[in-house]
Amino acid sequence: MNLPYTLIFEKRTEDYPKWLPAAVSIGSVIAAFIISGILLKIIGGEPLRVIKFFFTATFGSWAVFSDTMVKATPLILVGLACTVAFKMKLWNIGAEGQFYMGAFFASLVVLVPMVNLETTPKFLIIVLMMIMGMIGGAIWGFIPGILKAKYNVNEIIITLMLNYIALYWNNFWIFDKWSDAGFQMTPQFAKVAWLPRLSDLAREYRMFSGITLHLGVIIAIIAAIIIWWILERSRWGYEIKLIGDNPAAARYAGLNISKNIILVFMLSGALAGLAGMSEISGVVHRLQERISSGYGFTGIIIAWLAKLNPFTVILVSILFGALIVAGREIQPSGIAYLLQGIILFMVISSDVLLRYKIRLINLNPQEA
């Protein structure tokens, strides 16, 4: 087969225009949607109806937009968790497990209980739950961190295995020790352990009635600001970037790489753990099975799509929050996975456009 045209990849010698990365990212998401639409059509769906449904179900009213933001909240936090780790080229694929451990530790505050729930002020309980959630996630991040730092064990597999272990660990407690009358969940937490919601204000402001948006979103946004400052302005962030770009140079510059591997893994785990806390304290109000619909994995995509920029993580998380909200309604359930896979593929493939110029070359110019 002889095509008259061929594609030529030319290495970019000059810097690409400033708008290109953003354009390429947006383009790749759109391309992913188109490809998914075609796939959907092939297997007998109605892509246009689905897309229309997608927008009305996620941004159509304040109530649904609030749902979208509620879903975006844990995503922002796990997205940040992955961002921090990936900045140092640490492949933390274990945000899912860290999320579960964060949720478990946070719920200890209520279920043990660690403080007297009747007398302790709500503020203190919430803060304690946040701290416990972060500790839980950090412990789950410490394990792969120390194994990598001390024995150079591949962190990808370790974090993945820890995901499964965390899942079964949680299951044991909710099926056995804390089971609510035999159901696979703990009893509902006392209201004092709930993150404040906008609907709590419904008595004063009618417009907030039924709006489930909770304080977690503010926590997530503050976390994004802090992570931005750490990565872009602090000495530690400089060290993280240096180790990520060239560990040999970092060692040569006198940095302690092992210590940083452990610390960054713990920070990453703490952020994912905080997401778990926010989810049980802000949304589910109990510990149960399936508190995460693969948030930990979606966080990887979000971090990558956001090009490891904490503020972009927020925007991308809202998009994915919408996907999850809409996905709950779209059947079959695998479509959400499929779409995520295609988006990630498109995003990493599109990076080639930043490194190369692609030109269409006419092989037989005289005939044209």
Partner: protein
């Protein structure tokens, strides 16, 4: 196609081994070769000279089938050829001996030689082929154990494997890309002997080099490239002078000597006492080595690559553990983190500029603060003042004449010379007491070499103790006050640079102890 028959000597007696005509090779944004002609006569050794980046390797890669010329023609033994892959070139009898060896470290010599061939087709009966390779070695006097794994071999032996690889494929034209760069003087003599014996056995050789003494010793004619253009095409080597050659290569008259001031060295800064260390393969690389460097003195370290130089630099700078003592201004820094050596005022110009000395995807500014980002005014307790950092980088950029659009340029976009200046500038601004410089000028063009060497001498005048590790003997003789020769991790002797000569150093490099 494995045993491509050698070209019929009678039929091809008239035709040249290689004729490259009007070769143009264009990469995006670069004209690597601009209408270059090169003719290799039958049975001759043709030297190809030029600075780094002049287009020698590109031209040869085209001959080896790795790149397709944008325009121009190539004839091998009179036959017009158009290579689409290295396989085509190999089939026509072209053999390339790469400067950076193209060998698979985990495979044996025989496996490496048989790689990419069609014979044996499936089952690798290695013992049978080991014998074939021993026979070939006999014929050309290139001895190396066929059953050894590549990583177990010395650099010289690896080079022999590269040559055997081409001969086994029946190569009639050998391209040797700076084959002497990695060898000791005596090994160079052996290599030249091999080259001469190969031409007697019907081979023609293109010899890439930038050293005139080697060219005159072995080549018949030479071609010089400068910035992709041939400034000399196939001229006779007799009567060529180093001044003339340098002018052809660089395009202007070159002052070969940098001035070194007489000065008396001060106190001992670095005192290495009976240090031993193992390398990455777990083999002993340094064996009870001792040496001293004083203030305002350059101690040169000579030796064939892989005799413990890298490990010596690494133990001093804290990058490798060792047995023994390393005193810097009286403080023992052995087996400490690199940060301890840095705090003691040790600056380090690493051998690998891109792999160790810089962070490729970070800006010039971020690269220049690698050693002082913790210190005021750039670093505060928690944060980094990036405005301050960029100002600092701008000052260095001007002072050291670093060519780059601005200080936000990524380090990977810099040329080798400019990147080396960034590294030197960064290390010098730490006001070092000791500077460990490893191969600071390797791979740079003449202009950059000069400025790097000047900077090192300025440091010497400032009173810094300098440990200069280099494989360029001329550089060592020019810059050093004293020269220590390393062989298998031991010091063979320390000579005063004024009365050292190449021959003597060469002998010590191959393991002969200095008779004091």
């Amino acid at each position: 196609m494995t045993s491509h028959p050698p070209p019929n000597a009678v039929a091809n007696a008239v035709a040249n081994a290689v004729e490259m005509k009007d070769i143009v090779i264009r990469f995006p944004g670069v004209l690597a070769n601009d209408h270059v002609n090169l003719t290799l006569k039958h049975g001759e050794i043709h030297a190809l000279l030029g600075e780094n980046g002049a287009g020698k390797s590109t031209l040869m890669s085209a001959l080896a089938g790795l790149y397709k010329p944008t325009s121009g023609t190539m004839r091998i033994h009179g036959e017009l050829v158009d290579f689409n892959s290295p396989k085509d070139a190999i089939a026509k009898g072209i053999g390339m001996v790469y400067q950076h060896f193209m060998l698979v470290p985990t495979q044996t010599v025989t496996e490496n030689i048989l790689l990419g061939l069609n014979e044996p087709k499936f089952f690798m009966d290695l013992p049978k082929y080991d014998q074939k390779i021993r026979d070939l070695q006999e014929q050309f006097g290139l001895n190396v154990d066929p059953t050894a794994k590549i990583w177990q071999l010395s650099v010289g032996e690896q080079q022999r494997v590269e040559i055997l690889k081409t001969l086994y494929r029946g190569a009639s034209v050998l391209i040797m890309d700076e084959p002497t760069a990695v060898l000791a003087p005596q090994e160079i003599d052996d290599l030249m002997e091999t080259m001469r014996s190969m031409t007697k056995q019907d081979k023609s050789i293109i010899f890439i080099s930038h050293k005139l003494n080697e060219v005159t010793a072995v080549a018949n004619r030479l071609t010089v490239l400068r910035k992709g253009v041939a400034t000399a095409e196939g001229i006779d080597v007799t009567g060529m002078t180093s001044e003339k050659l340098a002018e052809l290569m660089v395009g202007r008259k070159v002052v070969f000597r940098v001035e070194k001031k007489e000065q008396a060295p001060g106190d001992v800064v670095l005192d290495v006492k009976e240090v031993s260390a193992i390398n990455n393969k777990g083999v002993r690389a340094l064996n009870k080595l001792s040496l001293k460097v004083r203030q305002g003195e350059i101690l040169g370290i000579a030796g064939v690559a892989g005799n413990g130089q890298s490990e010596l630099a690494e133990i001093i700078t804290g990058l490798r553990d060792c047995d023994g003592e390393i005193l810097i201004n009286g403080e023992d820094v052995s087996n400490q983190e690199p940060s301890v050596a840095i705090a003691q005022g040790v600056a380090h110009i690493p051998e690998d500029r891109t792999g160790v000395g810089s962070a490729p995807n970070m800006t010039i500014a971020e690269n220049t603060i690698m050693k002082n980002y913790r210190d005021e005014p750039i670093g505060t307790k928690w944060s980094i003042n990036f405005t301050e950092a960029r100002d600092h980088a701008r000052e260095l950029k001007n002072a050291y004449d670093i060519l780059a659009p601005n200080v936000r340029t990524m380090a990977r976009k810099l040329s080798g010379g400019n990147l080396q200046k960034v590294i030197l500038a960064r290390e010098i601004t730490t006001n070092p007491k000791l500077m460990v410089a490893m191969q600071p000028t390797r791979g740079l063009d003449v202009g950059a070499i000069e400025s790097i060497q000047r900077l090192l001498l300025e440091q010497r005048e400032e009173g810094t103790a300098i440990l200069l590790i280099s494989e360029e003997l001329e550089e060592l003789l020019t810059l050093s006050d004293r020269i220590a020769v390393l062989h298998e991790g031991e010091v063979m002797g320390i000579l005063d640079a004024k009365d050292a000569n190449m021959k003597e150093i060469g002998l010590m490099m191959t393991g002969e102890k200095h008779k004091a």
